[in-house]
């Protein structure tokens, strides 16, 4: 187990380094002088010069990169000249929103997707199975952001049940916080729940044919006992793995959802920075979200190894 884990972690480090090179290089590809692009119409020669010095744009590019990387390694992402605030601090302030959204959405995904898949897989080919398959196929095809708009239209503007946007800190009022997260989390969860449902069904069907299930049936166990005691624990391995990968993808989906529901998370920060052509911030948030995505995938891999001993030998 240890060697499997070390191998995976050892692969992650060069990947992180590569990601930082890519993000840094990408932002250097911005056409024209980045200082001018960032300052826009407000650019004065003095302002451009000050920015060039602040970001060390006069140094050779490799040196700029090393300086930036050195800072990032210490959690120092530089200062955002617009808000005049350290970028690292801005990210730290917004990260809890994105993480809470992602975790709540993951919980919704599991709570909707797994029962759906069990329902479908338990009786293969039946009406429930076919209905669940169709729901799954349609669910996968719903655009997140459109679902969000429809939920706002129906549940908040129409029925007035839930807020259409905004955010309350958990420390201030846990209940209000959760109420504000309900629609965003559902929006982010729905299409992933459809995927997870289809996967759960496939995993259950795959396990159903195994010898030990036949044996349990021959022993006279009820179908329910077979499903929950023998099939589900074995089917859980792919389910947990895919859910882990989905948590990663949700970090990307969060950008759109945070925008629709005006949540102050890192995704919205990224988008705002992109629209303002605020490249130092884009560079930092893209790297942070990318690194989180990679770490979630790494954690999923490790978890996979932990729950399925067969994987460690690969």
């Amino acid at each position: 187990m240890l060697s499997y884990a070390t191998r995976r972690v050892a692969l992650a480090l060069p990947l992180l380094l590569g990601m930082s090179v890519l993000v840094f290089a990408l932002m250097r590809l911005v056409p024209g002088d980045p200082a001018v692009a960032v300052l826009g119409y407000k650019a004065t020669p003095e302002g451009v010069q000050a920015l060039r010095e602040a970001f060390h744009l006069d140094e050779p590019v490799p040196q700029q990169y090393l300086r930036w990387l050195g800072g990032v390694a210490h959690g120092d992402f530089g200062v955002d000249f617009r808000q005049n605030e350290p970028i690292g601090r801005m990210i730290l302030d917004r990260l809890p929103v994105t993480i809470e959204l992602t975790l709540l959405a993951a919980a919704c995904t599991a709570l909707i997707g797994v029962p759906l898949g069990l329902l479908a897989g338990g009786r293969r080919g039946g009406a429930t199975d076919r209905a669940a398959l169709a729901v799954g196929l349609v669910g996968v095809s719903i655009p997140d952001f459109w679902l969000g708009i429809m939920l706002i239209l129906g549940l908040s503007l129409g029925a007035g049940l839930l807020p259409s946007g905004g955010w309350v800190a958990f420390g201030e009022s846990p209940l209000k916080n959760l109420i504000h997260f309900t629609l965003p989390a559902l929006t982010l969860a729905m299409s992933r729940a459809a995927v997870l449902g289809r996967l759960t069904r496939a995993a259950v069907l795959d396990t159903m044919h195994r010898g030990f299930v036949e044996y349990a049936r021959a022993k006279g166990l009820s179908e329910r006992a077979i499903l929950f005691r023998h099939v589900l624990p074995n089917a859980a391995i792919p389910i947990v793995t895919v859910l882990g990968l989905q948590v990663g993808y949700m970090l990307g989906g969060a950008i759109v959802v945070e925008m629709i529901f005006t949540l102050p998370g890192v995704g919205r920060m990224t988008l705002d920075a992109v629209l303002e052509r605020n490249y130092p911030v884009v560079q930092s948030t893209v790297l942070v979200i990318g690194a989180m995505f990679m770490l979630v995938n790494l954690a999923t891999d490790l978890l996979y190894g932990a729950i399925d001993p067969r994987m460690r030998r690969r």
Binding site: L137, V140, V274, Y279, V286
Partner: protein, 275 residues
């Protein structure tokens, strides 16, 4: 799901996609009115028989705009996947066939690209290179290339140890012939499945990017842009957000059905979560 049933799903998906593509191709001849002409007297008119999707805030026919927007959606989907195939398939082929150092040299940098959520990488690329239809297709192609390369590489690795490949090699077939005649055709099915999933995702991502303001530029009709416009009017004119969204869903569903049927309904859309 039986083989016949899954073939039916693929066929139905192909029909949906073909119908939408045909409508997009014939757009100017079949839609009720111009997609860009502004008529303030018609603003926010609800759906009628002659305008089944209603009118937007500028009095433009939403049906006309939807059908024209499919040109962008499908164009981006086809162009991005085609570009990714052109770039990714040779890379995956060489990596899988050569293995060893060459494999590492090709795949490790591609892993870096795959370490970002697709939409995030696409947004980052758009922020650097600017907006517009061609750039959306290009950004998506960059995002897709490593995915295609991985699928092709895996297929090549699986196929190249087959006996018939050994046989061809023993008969003295030169490497290019071996690869193109005996190995590549066997990678076709997984690549086809992946291609249709990627087209579904392309439609979603193009709509998302345009919705967020970093994709297609107005006044080009795009389903994402229409949703962004409609958000401000969704209480008075819900049809402005309902129909463009359904239109996105129909196209995505079509491609997902093609892929789903090809895989015999087993878990296809894992990659769909990437959007």
């Amino acid at each position: 799901m039986s083989w016949r049933g899954s073939r039916g799903v693929t066929l139905a998906g192909l029909l949906v996609v073909a119908a939408l593509a045909l409508a997009a191709a014939l757009a100017p001849h079949i839609v009720p009115g111009s997609p860009t002409e502004i008529a303030s007297t018609q603003a926010l008119r609800p759906p009628t028989w002659s305008q089944p999707f209603g009118m937007d805030d500028l009095g433009r026919s939403i049906l006309s705009r939807v059908v024209h927007a499919y040109r962008v959606s499908l164009g981006v989907a086809v162009a991005s996947v085609a570009l990714a195939l052109l770039a990714g398939a040779p890379l995956g082929l060489v990596a899988g066939y050569a293995e060893g150092a060459i494999d590492q040299l090709i795949m490790r940098p591609l892993d870096v690209l795959m370490s970002f959520p697709a939409i995030l990488l696409a947004i980052a690329l758009m922020s650097v290179f600017g907006t517009g239809v061609a750039l959306v297709a290009f950004s998506l192609a960059v995002v897709y290339t490593p995915i295609v390369a991985r699928v092709v590489r895996a297929a090549v690795l699986a196929v190249k140890v087959e006996v018939y490949v050994d046989g061809a090699r023993a008969l003295g077939a030169p490497v290019p012939r071996l690869v193109l005649r005996h190995i590549l055709p066997n990678a076709a099915t997984p690549v086809l499945v992946q291609a249709s999933v990627l087209m579904a995702i392309a439609i979603l991502v193009e709509a998302s990017l345009s919705f967020l303001g970093v994709g297609v530029r107005p006044p080009t009709p795009s389903l994402g842009l229409m949703l962004a416009d409609g958000r401000g009017f969704m209480v008075q004119a819900p049809w402005m957000v309902v129909f463009p969204g359904l239109a996105i869903m129909a196209a995505v569903l079509g491609f997902n059905m093609v892929a789903g049927g090809l895989l015999r309904i087993e878990p296809v859309a894992q990659a769909a979560g990437r959007s």
